[in-house]
């Protein structure tokens, strides 16, 4: 059910709200720990981070994505508007398709990243990590377009992992297997519309399900019934964090500082500096940041976000990165021991010119064993490919497991 009504003056009585799936999350949450994600309660781990992680790689895991900020963009100028807002050429995004994009300020610095859902001809949903309505409306001047934030009107669940397609089919979503990666389609679910997109934040086979919050609990129940024989498991944000690092996905506030929040203006990053140059389409005309990005393309970037494959087994959290002869090269933004790649992996922001694939570097890792701290310089190298990228991620129709 709908749980947040922002026009209610009594909203302050609780700092954070139950999600539409809360009653079900509570049943699964054996650890009884809750964290906060924007306006909602979220679950860091239900029972065991590792088991939840492996559900995403081995069977399927369910993660509540309702708190993600959502905007509905409609009106005759929706497409030109989005094309001016986004770095990516949105005109190539056909109805029924989803695209990942970033958006920048005039200096070509990333404000946020997110996904654009072309729901129906001329009707778009933009999902983001941060609240964006001020910038989205600022960008709307001169366009005949209507933008509303409808975060609380849509409940969302991510179903991620190799058995996810089979579970959805089991639940009765006819022909769901024909969805290609980044495709979306509508299904009847107990008389209401269920939107399913083949998207996710894990770099594996997976879907995201979007429904009216009043039917959220029922969706959860049907999903778990259908998945009971296929290893379905509620997944917390800690497991998701591991999955996304293996997949090489960036996170606002971790890999980059959203430009609207940057008190220190030089601490932001451009799409090129995040390795997202492929999202920048210069030949579509004016878009926010275009001039600055053209300059950057000509003059070079300040940073490179890279993937590091690190020797040894110690996670390189918060580590500094050096060249092999000890000169500062950058810092690690995200790091972990990858259970699937069986390697110590990291995302790191390196100062140019460092960051070419194959470059040999070192990371300075502090770690403790039974309260004794040690420091180690581990050799590492810049790698081109993400750490987990199975063929089943793209296979259509997907296999049952």
């Amino acid at each position: 059910m709908r749980t947040v009504n922002i026009t209610n003056a009594d909203h302050h009585k609780t700092a954070v709200y139950p999600s539409p799936f809360h009653s079900r999350q509570e049943q699964h949450n054996q650890l009884k720990e809750w964290s906060r994600w924007s306006d909602y309660l979220s679950v860091p781990a239900y029972w065991c981070e590792s088991l939840e992680y492996f559900s995403g790689r081995n069977t399927c895991g369910v993660f509540d994505i309702t708190p993600m900020v959502k905007h509905l963009v409609t009106g005759p100028d929706a497409l030109p508007y989005l094309n001016r807002l986004m770095t990516r050429d949105v005109s190539k995004l056909k109805p029924g398709r989803v695209g990942y994009s970033v958006w920048c300020n005039d200096n070509g610095q990333v404000i946020d990243d997110g996904t654009i859902f072309h729901l129906r001809e001329g009707i778009y949903r933009v999902c983001s990590q941060e609240h964006q309505i001020d910038w989205f409306l600022t960008s709307a001047t001169g366009f005949d377009v209507n933008i509303v934030e409808d975060t609380h009107d849509v409940a969302g669940l991510a179903l991620q992992g190799p058995t996810s397609c089979a579970v959805l089919r089991e639940m009765g979503l006819a022909d769901v297997e024909s969805l290609t990666p980044f495709g979306l389609d509508y299904f009847d679910f107990e008389g209401v519309e269920l939107m399913v997109s083949r998207t996710g934040f894990t770099g594996d086979l997976g879907y995201e399900l979007w429904i009216d919050p009043d039917h959220a609990e029922l969706l959860w129940d049907r999903l778990f019934e259908a998945g009971s024989t296929r290893g379905i498991r509620a997944m917390g944000s800690d497991a998701l964090e591991m999955l996304r690092i293996e997949a090489g996905f960036i996170l606002a506030g971790v890999e980059f500082l959203p430009a609207m929040e940057a008190v220190r203006p030089t601490h932001t990053r451009s799409p090129f500096e995040l390795g997202l140059g492929w999202l920048v389409s210069f030949d579509k005309g004016v878009f926010n940041g275009r001039k600055a990005l053209l300059e950057e393309k000509k003059n070079g970037s300040r940073y490179h976000l890279v993937k590091l494959d690190i020797d040894g087994n110690k996670p390189a959290k918060d580590a500094f990165v050096f060249t092999r002869n000890g000169k500062y090269a950058g810092t690690v933004t995200s790091a972990m021991w990858s259970p699937s790649a069986k390697a110590s992996i990291a995302l790191a922001s390196l100062e140019a010119p460092h960051g070419e694939p194959g470059e040999e570097l070192e990371v300075e890792i502090y770690y403790q064993r039974e309260l004794r701290w040690s420091r180690v310089m581990e050799p590492c190298r810049v790698v081109r490919d993400v750490f987990w990228n199975p063929p089943r991620r793209r296979q259509t129709p997907p296999a049952d497991f």
Partner: protein, 516 residues
């Protein structure tokens, strides 16, 4: 295929014409498109009642002397009906004060005030010199680029060259209000009222508003005909100035088309393609220079969708809301102002009995009301220039404040009431003037916006204030007459160095275009 060397200028106001003349003089193919039936914009002389003519801009005090010379305006027909106008500060009692650029005379003036006035003029002229030194310069950006650093360094040097005491004084008073500065220097309330009016004419400020020292300096920063702060009435109204400019431009080969309102700036991808007139006709051009105000140019003629959102927001945020109305009266005879001799009547008359009066007049406008007791700057140009009115009859031309663009009641309702308030105020100084009135025209900021296509009806095309001056005018990052759109330039009063019939913005824009 576009006509690759054609330059179109949107708007034939004085800056557009100056820009056209300089470009044509340099051999460029220039066409000026003016919406009205004659060039000149707000600096055109127009008939407001049968046989009676007046120009909205009614005094000449900022026209740049180099521009007059470069464009040979004199030989293109510009003549002064009267120069060196004095200011008569009207008192209801008839005990007025006469203010010239050098001295004061009149009743109730102390010797201290007279001496203080000489000193006041000295430093104000000196400080205004710092501003006038910037008029014909392209504002630098604040970057560590060598050329910018040099330009900024030169500006700093110019301030240092004032000498230690004057430099300190400029840094102290440059950003504050005229009220405090006049309080520090003078006693006579009428004198302070009249001097404070110079600081607030055409702005959204009262004497107590900070930045009003700057606007006072800006107003006196002119060098018309080589004399600082000189007030003149051209023969044939201020429209004669723009007529001479147009004649010069045409002589150099520019085309001027009147009755040609531009509706849209045309783009082809990233490139300027030309303009479209409201009738639908398209005119190809590789360079478009807009003499329209920056907000109208970028948000309406071009359209925000052709800009990146951050810079569009800056243009959107330009403060351009007029607060001055213009009154034109057709009079059947010379009005009788108490205590003002017929010769004095030909000078500039101001109604601003004291600074509190001006401030109170301003108070209304903050809340979307017009002043119940307005301030006014009055000229009767027909005394010096018989072309403006039928024989024996006269034109009274007055700037009257405050009249906010967004009147709470709306101007369709408020106009008659404001006109009455103005006439009531005039009557206090010129009893019986109502009986002499044959015809009245009051142009509110709304009228000025509609007739002259200026956003907000603001005569500076954007509030003249420290936060909208020099490299911040019209918006930071686009203060060098270029816009983010290649091939599109701005040349109007919305750019540095602002409004008043000066011509420098047009000339500077031409310099930039020619350098490309």
């Amino acid at each position: 295929m576009i006509n690759s060397d054609k330059i179109v200028i949107i708007g034939g106001g004085h800056n557009g014409l100056v820009c056209a003349a300089y470009l044509a003089k340099a051999g460029r193919n220039v066409t000026v498109l003016e919406a009205a039936d004659q060039v000149g914009g707000a600096a055109a002389t127009r008939e407001f009642a049968p046989g009676f003519r007046a120009s909205v801009a009614h005094l000449l005090y900022l026209l740049d002397k180099d521009i007059s010379k470069d464009l040979a305006l004199d030989s293109h027909g510009l003549k002064m009906a009267k120069s060196g106008l004095k200011t008569i500060a009207l008192a209801e009692s008839g005990d007025h004060i006469t203010i010239s650029t050098r001295r004061l005379s009149g009743a109730n003036l102390s010797t201290e005030d007279k001496a203080a006035y000489r000193e006041y003029r000295r430093f104000m002229r000196k400080f205004a010199g710092v501003i006038s030194g910037l008029h014909n310069k392209i504002p630098p950006r604040i970057t560590s680029e060598r050329s910018d650093m040099i330009a900024l360094g030169k500006m700093a040097l110019k301030v240092r060259m004032l000498g230690r005491n004057d430099m300190r004084e400029l840094l102290r008073i440059g950003a504050i209000n005229i009220y405090d500065v006049l309080q520090e220097n003078f006693d006579n309330p009428l004198l302070k009222g009249a001097l404070s009016l110079d600081a607030v004419l055409g702005t959204n400020s009262g004497p107590r508003s900070n930045n009003s020292v700057f606007t006072a300096l800006h107003r006196t920063s002119g060098n018309t005909r080589g004399a600082a702060g000189q007030l003149s009435l051209p023969n044939g109204g201020v429209g004669a100035v723009t007529q001479a400019m147009a004649a010069a431009a045409r002589e150099y080969g520019a085309e001027t088309h009147t009755g040609s309102p531009v509706d849209k700036i045309l783009m082809d991808g990233d490139t300027i393609r030309g303009v479209q007139l409201s009738g639908g006709e398209q005119i190809a051009a590789s360079v478009v220079i807009s003499n329209a105000d920056p907000k109208t140019t970028m948000m309406n003629l071009l359209g925000a969708q052709h800009l990146e959102a951050g810079v569009a927001r800056k243009f959107h945020n330009i403060r351009a809301s007029g607060n001055a109305a213009k009154l034109h009266l057709a009079l059947d005879k010379l009005p009788d102002f108490k205590g003002v001799s017929p010769t004095q009547l030909g000078h500039r008359l101001v109604i601003a009995s004291d600074m509190e009066y001006v401030e109170r007049a301003f108070n209304h406008s903050k809340y979307g009301e017009f002043s119940t007791h307005p301030v006014a700057e009055i000229t009767i140009p027909s005394i010096h220039d018989e072309t403006l009115a039928p024989d024996g009859k006269h034109v009274l031309s007055a700037i009257v404040q405050y009249a906010p663009r967004n009147l709470g009641t709306g101007w369709s309702e408020g106009k008659a009431a404001f006109t009455d308030a103005v006439l009531e105020t005039l009557s206090a100084y010129a009893p019986g003037i109502r009986e002499n009135v044959i015809a009245t025209e009051l142009l509110t900021p709304e009228d000025i916006e509609n007739e002259f296509r200026m956003a907000g009806g603001h005569w500076h095309h954007g509030e003249l204030s420290l936060d909208q001056f020099l490299m911040l005018r019209p918006v930071p990052g686009s203060a060098q007459y270029e816009t983010p759109v290649e091939g599109l330039y701005l040349c109007g009063a919305g750019c540095h160095p602002g409004g008043g019939v000066m011509g420098s913005a047009g000339r500077n824009a031409a310099t930039v275009v020619l350098a490309q």
